[in-house]
Structures are given as C-alpha cells and as structure tokens.
C-alpha cells in the first residue's frame, strides 16, 4: 500500500485535543428535582443496562476516534498498488460502429462508462487523460487527477459518423517510445469495438474490447450514375455480420419528398459481401437516399445518401478536313455519358486537324501551319515506336504506346512549359500538352488518317482522355463519398453555398473547398451557379462488417469504482452516524 499524501498522517495528532474535548463535553449537566424519590423508580428500571451505560462513553470515544482516523487515512489517499501508479491515457474509439446499440446503450456510452469507473478509482497521485479517435486523435482532457474534469471530458464526447482511420493512432508510437524510456509511467488504453479496417497499433497500446458481436448489415459502397439521358444505374455494395444468409429489402427514395423510386431485394451470404447494380428509368437529378428496410444493431450504415447531378457536357466543335470520325466520336460519347455536346460557335473544346481555332482547349491532330502550340514545323519523320517520356501520364492510362506507329509525324518544337508524353527517337515530341496565353492543347503529332488510325480503338480513347484532361473532367463528381473524405466541387469561384440535409432539416454549413464530408446526409454545393448534389455515408466494411480477424485482446485489469479513500470516508461517515445515534441520546435523549 502506498499513500498519495502521507503528510496528512500528522492530522492524527488532533485526536489528543479531540479526546480532551470529548471528555469535557460528555460530563452531564446537573438538574435539581423536587421529587427525587419518584425518580428512583426510573433509576430502578434503568439499572438493567447500567453496564452498557458505563461503557457507552468509552465506546463513543472509540467510535469518534475510529471515524477520525478513517478520515485521516482517506486524506492520505491510500492505494493498493505497491507504489506503481502509472498515468492513464484513455483513448476512446468514436467511429461510426461505436453507435451500435447493445443492451439499450451504445458502445460509445459503454466505453465512457468503463472509463468513468476507472477515473473514479484514480488514486491521488495518479493522473489520466482522455482522447478520442476516428480519423485523427483528439485530446479532450490532458493529464489530471481531477476525476470531475475527466468525467466532464467524457460527457463531451459525441459519436461520429466517421470510419476509424487505420493510421489515426500512428502518432502514439512517439508516446509509446517515450513511455518506454520513462519506465512505462503511462498506460495507453484504447477502448474500441474492434470494428474497423485492420489497424497496426503502436507497441504499448493496450486494447480494451467494448461490446460483443452484434448482428448488422451495412452499406459499404453506393453510386448513382447516368447511363443515358433519363436513365441511371444504382450500384450498391453491402456487408453482413449475420451468421446466416439474409435477405434485405432496399429502397431508393428522394431525400426531399421521400418518393419511392425503386424497391429491390438483396440476398447476402453469411458474414459476407454482395454488390448489386440496379438500372433506373426516368430518374431525376437531385438528392436521394438508399436505405435498408428493417432494423439492426447499427443504424448509421443502413442509409447511403446519394446525389445525382445533371449532366454537364463539354461544348465541342470539329475543325477538320475529314470531320466524320470526329463527329461519330462526339456522338458516341454524348450518348454514353453526356461528355460532349456538339455546338457551333462558343465551343469550349475543338477537335482539330491542322491549325486550331481560338477555343479554350484544343485536341490537335496532324499539326500544320503556324500556331502558338508548336514552332519550327519541319519535314515528316520516319514512323517508329515512340519513346515514353512521361510515364504514368493520364493520357497513357488506357493505351500501350508500343502499338502506335505515329505515321505522318513531323519534326517540330513544343513551346516552353509543355509536358511531353511521347517523343520520337530523335527527340521530336509526338504527344504533348501545352498551355499558351490561357489556351490549352493536347497535340497529337501524327496523321490519324493514316494506318487506319480513325478505325482503331485508340482514336476514341485518345479523344476521350484528352478531352477530360483538358476540361478537368478526369474525375467525375461522385454521387456519394465516405465520411471523412474531402471533395472538390467543379468550378472556379472561391465563394459558394453549402447546405447539409439530414432527415427533414436543411442547414447551411461553412463553404470551403475542398469540402470536408463528416456527417451522414445529403450535401448540396453551389459553385459557378451550378448545384452539385453529394451524399456522405459510412461506407466502411470494417465498421459495418464482422470484427477483424485475430484473437481478442487480453483482458485489462484496472481498478474501478470508488477509491479506497472514498470508502474510508464512507466508513467514517457511517461510524459518525453510529456514534451520533449513540451519543445523540446523551445530548437530546
């Protein structure tokens, strides 16, 4: 046993004056009576308990002394730990899966209750800190021995819709190494339900498992995409934690009116995943909700808010002596994913053979004439396999350069600042991107009319990839993202509006790009006068699915409940009350 404040033992000296005062105090007052002989009858009946009467004063003093000593001992903050009182850093997992309800309480509440019981049991010299983790480590209370501060910090912890980030605890490796150097003065306790992506925990962190296996089905991915004007495809991926195969009904409803757009059934294998693609007819752009009908232990992952945005085609024109193949290409991509919108005049993008017009962006095949996008256009080069200059460039993502002949390539010099992707053996750029005077271009230094390039599959691939590269459409705006993600809304304006919708309420949220999606719900961003719908959902197989593989952590034994000092104080109070019951008769009968 050790004592946090052994100096308080000196307080026991106060027993001496206490005993003196006690004896003075217990001398009974004298009362003269006229009928003493009548009182004799009372004395006779009291004589039966005279032994107790004689010992009572001594017993009373003994009780008072006991109570006093118990209080003194409580002040010294004794602990049964042989002097080892390491500080505690309690980290509580507040990821979405901690919202799982077990026995009427969420796992987060169970973790907070457990931590609170540890804080209650803190010895006087022992300190603790409180932190939470989801995507990053957040401290709510720094090291203190004030149990109330720690409990207040616990009360302030709110559940999050975020999935536990695998690297969120990395910074604790520094703490672990520091703890090793200081002879383990701090114990790091991680309270988690272990529903997460596989974590690599720094050494020295003790995992405390919260909750037990709970049956849950959750949506791990969802997407809503146009496949044709007025037609879309819903993609959904689900995971089951049930030990047997299950069938669940899912519905797609509009987020505003709740109009049902589609109801379908998904069959899930036992503790497994399944994906479904559902075609949707006559669906309108806007905010949607994909929901699992029925209830399970975790409600947060039963809904996936989705956004279906109006198509934003690129206005495109063709400037070629042989426009047929270009027009066919434009028509194909217009039907498929509304990438292009043919237009004459005010086009944003030009598909060009030879010299390009004054458009914002240009895809230039077979450069000819004078143009700011090249210099010193010379004689034709001999055909041959190109040399890859910019490896992993987006333009090469879907093609093999070795299969291209680059017939009709001419010797030229790219303007300064150009990114050369492919080059001839003599160094002449064959495929490059450049930006001159606010205009951008991808230059294909070969003649597509040769070697049946128009008929090859690489022609539309080049056109598509170069178009999305020049117009910034490399990444299509998502329908939904996992909570914790950051999303850049298409557009150039630095100001705009952002609205978050959950349930029946719409609330404006701070507008900043990239936008951080932290909560489950439908988001609407307005930028460059265009409204963009987006959904935020848990989308984590770790959070929704079975507990990760591996043996459960060893049981952590930590003192909980009231500390010894509190019990001593309680004992002192009980003794004082007992003494009072005894002595109260002497004072007031």
């Amino acid at each position: 046993m050790s004592f946090g404040f052994p100096a308080f033992f000196w307080a026991a000296l106060a027993l001496l004056p206490l005993a003196a005062v006690y004896f003075i105090r217990t001398r009974p007052r004298r009362q003269a009576v006229n009928a003493f002989f009548l009182w004799q009858q009372v004395f006779q009946q009291k004589s039966a308990s005279s032994l107790f009467q004689k010992l009572r004063n001594l017993l009373s003093l003994l009780l008072v002394a006991l109570a006093f000593l118990a209080a003194v001992l409580a002040l010294t903050r004794p602990v049964f730990d042989e002097g080892k009182t390491p500080d505690l850093l309690v980290i509580i997992d507040r990821s979405a899966s901690m919202q799982t309800i077990e026995g009427g309480k969420s796992r987060l509440d169970l973790a907070k209750d457990l931590a609170a019981s540890w804080f209650t049991a803190l010895g006087g010299s022992q300190r603790a800190a409180v932190a939470t983790v989801a995507t990053r480590l957040e401290y709510h209370a720094h090291l203190t021995n004030q149990a109330r501060l720690l409990r207040d910090a616990l009360d302030a912890i709110k559940p999050s819709d975020l999935a536990l980030d695998a690297h969120s605890l990395d910074e604790l490796s520094l703490l672990s190494s520091a703890a090793e150097k200081t002879s383990g003065k701090t114990r790091v306790l991680f309270l988690t339900d272990r529903h997460s992506v596989p974590l690599v925990l720094p050494t020295g962190i003790e995992v405390v498992s919260i909750g037990s296996a709970a049956n849950n089905i959750g949506i791990t991915a969802a997407d809503l995409r146009w496949v044709a004007p007025g037609q879309a495809t819903l993609f959904a991926s689900l995971i089951s934690d049930f030990p047997e195969p299950r069938e669940v009904e899912m519905e797609l409803v509009s987020a505003g009116e709740g109009t049902l757009a589609r109801l379908f059934t998904v069959r899930l294998p036992a503790r497994g995943e399944v994906s479904e693609s559902i075609p949707l007819e006559s669906i309108q752009p806007g905010a949607w909700l994909l929901r699992i009908r029925g209830k399970d232990s975790l409600a947060a992952d039963d809904v996936a808010p989705l956004g279906l945005n109006s198509p934003q085609p690129i206005p495109v024109q063709v400037a070629a002596k042989n426009p047929f193949f270009f027009q066919q290409c434009i028509a194909a991509f217009s039907r498929a994913d509304s990438l292009f919108e043919p237009i004459n005049g005010f086009a944003r993008l030009s598909l060009v053979e030879g010299n390009p017009p004054e458009t914002e962006a240009s895809l230039i095949f077979a450069p000819a004439g004078e143009s700011p996008f090249w210099k010193t256009l010379g004689e034709e080069l001999p055909a041959g396999p190109p040399e890859v200059i910019a490896k992993d460039h987006p333009l090469l993502a879907r093609l093999d350069p070795a299969l291209l002949g680059f017939d009709g390539a001419r010797k030229l010099t790219a303007p300064s600042g150009s990114v050369v992707v492919l080059a001839h053996a003599d160094g002449t750029p064959l495929l490059y991107t450049c930006a001159v005077a606010g205009r951008t271009a991808v230059v294909f230094n070969f003649d597509p009319a040769r070697a049946d390039f128009f008929l090859s599959p690489w022609f539309p691939v080049f056109v598509h990839d170069a178009a999305v590269l020049l117009t910034g459409r490399e990444n299509q705006f998502p329908s939904a993202v996992a909570t914790g993600s950051r999303v850049e809304v298409p557009g150039t304006e630095t100001t705009g509006e952002a609205v978050f919708r959950t349930g029946e309420t719409n609330a404006p949220i701070p507008y900043q790009m990239p936008a951080l999606i932290e909560r489950i719900g439908n988001y609407q961003f307005t930028r460059n006068a265009t409204a963009w719908h987006l959904g935020g959902a848990v989308f984590s197989a770790g959070e929704s699915g079975p507990i990760g593989a591996g043996s459960p952590p060893p049981e952590i034994k930590l003192a909980s409940g009231w500390p010894l000092a509190a019990w001593l104080l309680l004992a002192a109070v009980v003794v004082v009350i007992s003494e009072e019951l005894l002595y109260h008769r002497r004072k007031v009968g």
Binding site: P28, Q31, A32, F36, L38
Partner: protein
C-alpha cells in the same frame, strides 16, 4: 424576587377575598361555627324544660304565660375555632414556596377576619412554628410578617414526624390545613390518619410546580435531590419521561384516593394558577372538598 405579603396591593387582594368569603358563606365562617354544646350565646337554639339549678334568667316567661309550663331558652355556645396551617417548608417547596405562603396568607386572613385563631407551623424534617397564635383582625399584619419571614429549611420532609410533633404541641382540636406538594418519601397516609385521629378537621391543599408534573429535559443528566443533595446519573429518553410522569400521576392519584377514603378535603393546584383564583374556587365550593 417574591412579592411582600404586607404589600398594600396584596392586602387589597386578601380583603377582596375576605369580602367574597363573607358573601359566599353568609356569615357562617369557621369562627362562627355552631357547636352541639348549648350555652350562653346569643343565638337561640331550642327550648328545654326548666330544672332546678338552671339559670332562671333563661326562662321564657311568655311561654309560661300561655302554657303555664316553665321552659328555658337554650342558646348556642359561640366558640372561637383554631385554624392550624401546616405549611410545607421543605426545600422541595422552594420553587412554589411564595405561592404556598400566599395561599396560607389568604386563608389565615379570612380566618382572622372571622375571629378565628390562626396558628401556622412549618414542616420539613421537623416542625417549626411560624405564627404561634394570632386572633382578631388587629393581628393580621403581624401574622403576615411572620409568614413572610418563613423560609425553607431541613434536609428532607417527614410528614409523620411533623404531625406527631404538632399534636404534641397543640392539643386543642381545630381545622388543620396542610399546604404542601405532598412529595413525602415516607408517605402521607400515617400523618393524615394521625391528624384525623386527633379530632381535627383536616384539609389538604396540594401545590405543584408545573415542572414537577412532567420532565422537559432529555439526554444525559445528573439528577440531584434538592433536599438531600443526592446525585444520580441517568440518560433520559422519552421512555424515562413517561415512567416519571406515570409515577407522579400515580402518586397524586394515591393522595386523592386516600383523602377521599378518609373524608379529607383536597384541592390541587399548580403555582402557575393565580392564588386568588384558587381561593375563590375553594370558597365557591363551600370549602375544601375531597
């Protein structure tokens, strides 16, 4: 500080009580007590045949003129009555001694105004004389001064010893008024019996301090006998209070039963009741009734 018994205000109170006594008792106060003995008084009692030796002045000549029979008129002998007041002067009376003295003063005043002889004795562990003998209205002030000078004394109360001592000193029969709390450890029965045996008309006036009838203290106490200074430690709870109150009630009930059985007039009062109210009540009842 106790009020003086010779204070004019107190005297006025006594006079008022005396007037009330005259009106209530219509002149038949104890001093005018009729006696079965016939004599030379002025109050006609009966006729009797004349016998030689009788006072011929008592012959009713008018009757003789009508009936020629010699009859003499008999008159009641008017005797003066001695009122003995036995005032408890033990230390247990300390809290109500002034009150008891006022009662004695009032009764003695009325008796003196009725031309009775008044004797006052103090009782404790022995008998003392407070007023040896007073008669007539002229001795009222000396009577009151002597009564005022009386004090509590002794280390106990022995009623039996005092009554025997009283009888040894006062052979003449009279009215005995015992003013006391009757808290006699050795009992009151023998004393009352002895006074009755001696031929006195005995009346008891029990005076209590209200504090004697109950117990207002709780907790640890050292009980001290006010007369003997005996000490006893005790813890008083509601239970002890109840036992004490039952003991007091039983003691007083025993006194009442004893007085009823013996035909001894008894009046009980507490010192918080004005003494004149007690006297008025006694007068309206026609005296002390058991």
């Amino acid at each position: 500080m106790s009020a003086s018994l010779t204070d004019p205000a107190f005297i006025r109170q006594l006079e008022a009580l005396n007037l009330l006594a005259r009106r209530v008792l219509r002149g038949s106060l104890q001093a005018d007590r009729r006696t079965e003995r016939r004599g030379t008084g002025i109050t006609f009692a009966d006729y009797a045949p004349y016998n030689p030796g009788d006072d011929y002045r008592a012959i009713d000549w008018k009757i003789y003129a009508r009936t020629e029979e010699l009859l003499i008129k008999l008159f009641e002998i008017e005797e003066d009555t001695t009122v003995y007041i036995l005032l408890d002067c033990s230390r247990s009376m300390a809290s109500k001694f002034d009150y008891a003295r006022k009662l004695a003063a009032a009764l003695g005043y009325i008796a003196l105004n009725g031309m009775d002889r008044v004797v006052v004795h103090g009782m404790a562990d022995h008998l003392t004389t407070i007023v040896d003998s007073a008669r007539s209205r002229s001795q009222v002030f000396s009577f009151l001064r002597d009564l005022e000078a009386a004090e509590t004394f002794g280390t106990g109360t022995d009623f039996n010893v005092c009554t025997r001592s009283f009888q040894a000193r006062r052979r003449k029969k009279g009215v005995v008024l015992v003013i006391s709390d009757f808290f006699y450890p050795k009992g009151y029965q023998e004393g009352l019996k002895f006074l009755q045996w001696a031929g006195h008309d005995v009346f008891a006036l029990q005076v209590h301090d209200p504090a004697d009838l109950t117990c207002s203290w709780l907790g640890d106490l050292e009980i001290e006998c006010i007369e003997t200074a005996a000490l006893q430690k005790i813890t008083i709870t509601e239970k002890e209070v109840r036992i004490y109150q039952e003991a007091v009630a039983a003691w007083n009930e025993g006194l009442r039963s004893e007085c009823t059985r013996r035909g001894v007039g008894l009046a009980c009062t507490t010192s918080d009741v004005p003494f004149e109210v007690v006297i008025q009540s006694m007068l309206r009842k026609g005296g002390l009734v058991a």
